[in-house]
């Protein structure tokens, strides 16, 4: 699941609804990477695979090419 975080407020992991979703891998994207820390930790604690990035270029640098993924669900957190 590709999660685009567009809020500058603190993200409360439990209120995102992501902790109960059925996906195995999460790509969290936010310009201020520090804001993703708590959500990433909460997802990892539910045995999810998580990758962080500031933008799409960073995802590409890490070898994650969105257009080559077999399945993807996009979620925008505002």
């Amino acid at each position: 699941m590709l999660v685009l975080v567009e809020t500058d407020e603190n993200i409360r992991p439990e209120s995102t609804g992501l902790l109960n979703s059925e996906f195995d891998c999460y790509l969290l994207v936010h310009q201020e990477i520090e804001r993703l820390d708590e959500l990433a930790l909460a997802l990892e604690n539910t045995n999810k695979e998580v990758r962080l990035a500031r933008n799409f270029n960073e995802l590409k640098d890490k070898g994650i090419l969105i257009d080559q993924l077999n399945q993807i669900t996009v979620r925008v957190l505002k």
Binding site: E34, L36, D37, A40, L41, L43, V50, R51, L52
Partner: protein
């Protein structure tokens, strides 16, 4: 919190882990737990355990250099400055070796790894020694040297002192290292007069 702050926070928290368990037995999971951050956050800033360890080595080398540099005074003689700086550096490294003795034990089996981790601050150290030598020439304490010779001499002093440090700290040689260091420096400075 800024990106650099998080990086530093990870470095500082992971120090305790390497201090307690050495290098070999530590995993990224241990580091992640110690700094209270997710593995994904950790991997965002560092590619591997070695990368974290390298950042710690750089941080500590910087700290050692900063403290040792405080002994430098433009008014003091070249011999006093060299002995003061090298002795202060050795004392600082000695404290670090004791603190991270398990990690140093792990590194003994791979001296190349040890060398790579101590190459930080090399240029700054050479620059400082160059400044000491230039100062001594200006005060006519030692004979005139061309700039290329000052550079060569500085590089030799720094690299030989680093070899000496490794023997003292990794292999427990020269128990009277402070006196030996002063003696060696004295011979070197006399040769320059």
């Amino acid at each position: 919190m800024q990106q650099e702050n998080i990086r530093e926070e990870i470095i500082l928290s992971s120090m305790k882990v390497f201090e307690t368990y050495g290098f070999t037995r530590v995993s990224m999971q241990d580091i992640s737990k110690a700094c209270g951050k997710g593995r994904s956050t950790l991997y965002y800033y560092f590619t591997s355990k070695m990368d974290v360890f390298d950042a710690i080595a750089e941080y500590l080398c910087q700290q050692v250099f900063t403290i040792a540099k405080e002994s430098y005074s433009r008014e003091a003689s070249l011999e006093d400055n060299l002995v003061g700086f090298l002795r202060a550096k050795l004392r600082q490294i000695n404290l670090i070796t004791k603190r991270f003795h398990l990690a140093f034990e792990d590194m003994k089996s791979d001296p190349a790894l040890m060398v790579s981790k101590t190459r930080h601050m090399l240029d700054d150290e050479i620059e400082l020694i160059r400044d000491m030598i230039r100062g001594a020439i200006a005060k006519e304490e030692i004979q005139f040297l061309e700039e290329k010779d000052i550079l060569f001499l500085s590089e030799m002093l720094v690299t030989t002192s680093r070899c000496f440090e490794q023997e003292v700290l990794l292999f427990d040689r020269f128990p009277d290292f402070e006196a030996r260091l002063a003696w060696l420096t004295s011979i070197c400075v006399k040769g320059l007069k």
